[in-house]
Symmetry: C2
Subunit: 357 residues, 2 copies
Amino acid sequence: MTEGNVIDAFGTSEIRDYDKLFREFGVEDFTKLDAPDPLTTMRRGIVFGHRDLKPVLKAMKKGEKFAVMSGIKPSNYFHIGSKMVVDEIVYFQNHGGLVYYTFADVETLADNGLSFKESREYARDNLLDLAALGLDLDKAKIYLQSEEPTVLKQAHVYARNVTNNMLEAIYGEHPVRIYMAVLVQVADILLPQLEHGPMPVVVPVGFDQDPHIRLTRDIARKHKLMPPASTYHKFICSLLGVERKMSKREPQGVIYLNEDPKKARKKIMKYAYSGGKPTVEEHREKGGDPSVDVSYQYLTYLMSDDEKLKKIRRDYERGDLLSGDLKKILADHVEEFLINHQKKREKAGKKVDKILA
Amino acid sequence: MTEGNVIDAFGTSEIRDYDKLFREFGVEDFTKLDAPDPLTTMRRGIVFGHRDLKPVLKAMKKGEKFAVMSGIKPSNYFHIGSKMVVDEIVYFQNHGGLVYYTFADVETLADNGLSFKESREYARDNLLDLAALGLDLDKAKIYLQSEEPTVLKQAHVYARNVTNNMLEAIYGEHPVRIYMAVLVQVADILLPQLEHGPMPVVVPVGFDQDPHIRLTRDIARKHKLMPPASTYHKFICSLLGVERKMSKREPQGVIYLNEDPKKARKKIMKYAYSGGKPTVEEHREKGGDPSVDVSYQYLTYLMSDDEKLKKIRRDYERGDLLSGDLKKILADHVEEFLINHQKKREKAGKKVDKILA
């Protein structure tokens, strides 16, 4: 493991030094912005960075037209980390933004080999989560890449604006199909402005997706569109440890939004990596370490009550709260959340049928 | 100039040795086939080769389903050489084939930088010629690549079947946008079978387009479709000489199907390269050389009456016909053809409006 940051849109990204990220890539500190009614994740630096977000916030405050564009590769079910991005999209929608959301099935095919049919099944499930998390589907443009002729077509237009050298410099060497998917994604990000004319657009992403943003900003300028803004959030870690990424290759470390709440509870109680001390006695005396305790970390994402979270932290550091107690707090929180969430998913069923028939 | 054949789908192709072409590429002699009611160009070896045409002819004779798939880059007006391919398409349509015809505007954008809008204007004009040359537009599927979601989408599916090495081996090194256009073209060629199920499909092409056929045949097999068949025709030369290709960079050497018949007549009289001798006396004595006389060559494409053509050749070789006489025969023929053709173009106007609104 190196000390540096590895940014790869089609591989493994490791971000170990956020300050270096700011210095190297021109990303700015999100917390220095004056975002109205910020989300928990914004207040706590989980949404840590942005590029060019000021025009978006300005439009938002003035009630002018702006859009939020986002999407996902429909190759898996949503997990508890997926919620973060959706919360951001809902945030911008609630503040007046037009929503564009793409299921990147062209990329899933190119990168993962999933057929359009397989992708559609995941997309349907993801859509239930989007609705349950508060996205107003009726006021959003939601589509599969393979079903949206405009992005498929525009990909060829934007292909005129890149050279093979540029693509290799930004993404490394890849099969042509990957570059094709990249250009479809550029078309996704520019679609709101293609349909509504130039306006500020924000794209909430994990930092590993920043190459797409940089490329699209460059191409936008060539087409007299506004370079899209972006926000960057930290990735949620695996239940198995703060250094591990949530991945379906380690299912015991993932909490899916469609999984049985009781199973999720058991998973947390059994697997959540603890920041506690080896014995109860030592823990009572020296206290736990919240920075490596996964239960605590999850609560920073999920528990919006600042005072409550602060008390939990203090009690844990003091040794008043044991790791088992902390796990139980998280397990209660997640179980309750999943029960409510899944009720909302059920209600959303019919709407989803309309959008992805 | 080399002795060999240069086959480049995106550059300059020079075919100097047709026998070598047969030996190297597995192309077979068209004249050895038993095609019913062959066209003038088929009888005279202008349509000189084919790959795998027998299943098409078999389907044709048995009245079974088959298709002819063709198209053009809509980057120019049709000229007298364009007529040849259209004649072939009409031939297969008249013998029961489903017709698919694509205006490859994605390729025009990638290769020539023409916008979709510019391409559409040329496509409209080309469509008038297609109708005037006898294609039944009502029974054909005619489309612009950029307007046909299925081919744009399938290009990404077929991209899974190629590696960068394959593409470079077949086409040489090109910008990604060119490979993208190649994959759209593969989708064009496979579209009839995607829509109608596996069946014989023939693609009439110039030999420079053979790389597309080879690639598509390979991909077809992977998708359990029939590898498309092809026919190959010789290119018509420039008016300025048999060794020169008709090109809009030398407009005095091109006869467009939409140009003023009187201007075409003058062009022929002024520029047609002659196979005659320097002086009338020498010509009367030694005779002319039809193999380099452009007027004679054009007549082999355009004059269907074998006996009449044979007599012209004999008289020219004997010196009874002068180069000026030969030019006049061609000029008369072309002028009359263009007058009739352009009447038919006018009639086709409304149908074209319906197809490319």
